[in-house]
Amino acid sequence: MLRFATVRLLRALITILAVITFAFVVLRLSGDPAQVMLGPDVPQESVDAFRKAWGLDQPLWIQYLAYIRAIFTGDFGVSMRDKASAMQLVIERIPATLQLTIPALFLKVVIGIPAGVYAALHRQSAVDRGVILAAIFGFTIPSFVMGLLLVLIFSITLGLLPSGGQDTWQHGILPTLTMSIGGIGILARFSRSAMIEVMGQPYIRTASAKGMKWQDVVWKHALPNAAVPIVTIVGFMVGTLIAGAVVVESIFSWPGIGRLLVVSVSNRDLAVVQCILLMIAATMVVSNLIVDLLYGFLDPRLRAQSAH
């Protein structure tokens, strides 16, 4: 077990390091923060002074090493714009994002999985066709189109719900819906195909031949097997809890991490962007770890294999 855990942990660390490095390099290659922060008309001396102050005059690899060293001592840098701790800025925004993503995840799971499973058990029925159609509809329409569509219908035409801001709980409805529809479609489709696959397996025939009630065959024999692929998708969705709302937050002017990321990127606020990316990578890695552990719990064959 120890060896299994160490391998996974090391792999997680390497992933995070790769993300940090990638972000670091790309951000510095894609524009000069001094120019962006100070504007195009400032004198050269101010630009030089800004660069010196933030250490941007050093060679790239020295900046990189300094950055890595800082991270390991828990120093995630200071926002160039607000002069506040970058991590502090990011953490302040997390609750707002979670207010959208957690209800959205909840909707995806409680609608997507049952819809997919039901469709699989009633193949070729009207419900099945409806689910397939809705699923395709749900995940082929990009969220910005979906968001605007919902705004058009519920805010502009019907005038039922606000189209932006974070003042009341009604403000959260449209962004949450926008975010969940695609995921519901994906989960419905995956659950359907996982369930169809499992229902065709010989052991399901065995369970039926044993005289088990149909519902028991589905609940006790089929679902535990279909859970493995479904958990993979849900795990991926958990991984996007922090960062899954970039587009939606921008559309609905929701003051979450996503909006902060967009603003910080356009400002070349390096420390903040890096902080957010680090956070995203960490949640992804953690959710992957959880999924891996769940696999072993769900499927005894994988328990044996994961050690190989």
């Binding site: 044993k210 005289g211 009630k213 024999h221 005894p300 064959r301």
Partner: protein, 341 residues
């Protein structure tokens, strides 16, 4: 006359409109062992999956299946569920994938005990242990807690048999139970099935392409071809004097392990696709004794004087000359067929 345990009458199955089973009639008496023999696609497995309602939804099943005189075909699901496992249990060809990979073996057995015998908790566990012991799984107490992938193929089949015995069925349908197993393990499983049958007195349907295995286990056999029974009778009668050319061909095609080494005698051609069955007798294009009427008239399964049933216009044996079979080396001219019609 003693009533039969199970009776199939005119059982027909079609998948998406393609008929794969063309009316099967079969009676199984109490405690009797019957072999269903034939090559892949002949419908021997489909017959029993259809009888127990285990085929996928796209299959259309018609005819009659009676258990102790009670019709079960087309009955509501709960009637079938009462028959499956309790009256008729079934084991399958690929034991390793026929057990649920994520459930402990013990639980898969106790489940059946709960359904059919109302046993729970320690009582169920004790009975499961007894069953595993009965099918020859050593160290059963520890192995109840294991998962199917921790068992070998032969042991998985033993577990399947234990599970099938849990409902104390009147009939065990064994669908190619030894095909996927190694030779020495095959012999063990055959031996086990024979022993269990004499111990419990249950009837058995033994589905296999292996005539050797069938003749170890059964008293009677049905030979099937292209979704029909072509010959049915006691093992002894079938082997000593096969009368349908397909039965005969099947015996001749098996390589022998004793006696002089000879060139094998294959049946020419291939099994027809169900959607493309020849007219008349389905075996006629491959038959060495084909006559003109075989190509136009489909033979019916008819009772013979010696107790067997046969579906052939020109059976072998007895008085072959009387039928004037067409010279097998010369195929029937299409023109001759036209002239006939």
């Amino acid at each position: 006359m003693v009533s039969n345990l199970v009776e199939l009458r005119g059982l027909k199955v079609a998948f998406d409109g393609v008929q794969v089973l063309h009316g099967i009639d079969l009676e199984i008496g109490r405690g009797e062992a019957i072999g269903l023999v034939g090559e892949s696609g002949c419908g021997k497995s489909v017959t029993w999956l259809a009888a127990l309602g285990l085929l996928p939804g796209k299959a259309t099943v018609t005819g009659s299946v009676r258990v102790d005189g009670q019709e079960i075909l087309g009955q509501p699901r709960n009637v079938l569920e009462g028959v499956r496992g309790k009256r008729i249990a079934m084991i399958f060809q690929d034991p390793s994938s026929s057990l649920n990979p994520v459930l402990r073996v013990g639980r898969q057995i106790t489940e059946a005990l709960a359904i059919h015998r109302g046993l729970h908790g320690q009582a169920a566990k004790a009975e499961a242990l007894r069953l595993l012991d009965m099918v020859g799984i050593p160290d059963a107490r520890r192995r109840l807690e294991l998962f199917p992938h921790e068992f070998s193929g032969g042991q998985c089949q033993r577990v399947m048999i234990a599970m099938a015995l849990a409902g104390e069925p009147d009939l065990l349908v064994a669908d190619e139970p030894t095909t996927a197993l190694d030779a020495t393990i095959q012999a063990q499983i055959l031996d086990l099935l024979i022993g269990l049958r004499s111990e419990t007195g249950m009837a058995m349907i033994f589905i296999s392409h292996d005539l050797g295995a069938v003749s170890q286990v059964c008293e009677r056999a049905c030979v099937m071809y292209a979704g029909q029974v072509v010959e049915q009778g006691s093992i002894q009668a079938l082997f000593d004097n096969p009368r349908h050319p397909y039965t005969r061909g099947l015996f001749d095609a098996i390589p022998r392990i004793d006696g002089p080494r000879q060139r094998l005698v294959p049946i020419p051609g291939t099994v027809p696709h169900p959607s493309d069955l020849p007219e008349g007798c389905a075996f006629s294009p491959r038959c060495s004794h084909v006559a003109i009427d075989c190509r136009t008239r489909r033979p019916e399964l008819t009772a013979m004087d010696d107790g067997r049933r046969l579906s052939c216009h020109h059976p072998l044996g007895h008085h072959p000359e009387a039928h004037h079979p067409v010279d097998s080396t010369r195929p029937v001219e299409p023109r001759a067929l036209e002239a006939l019609s």
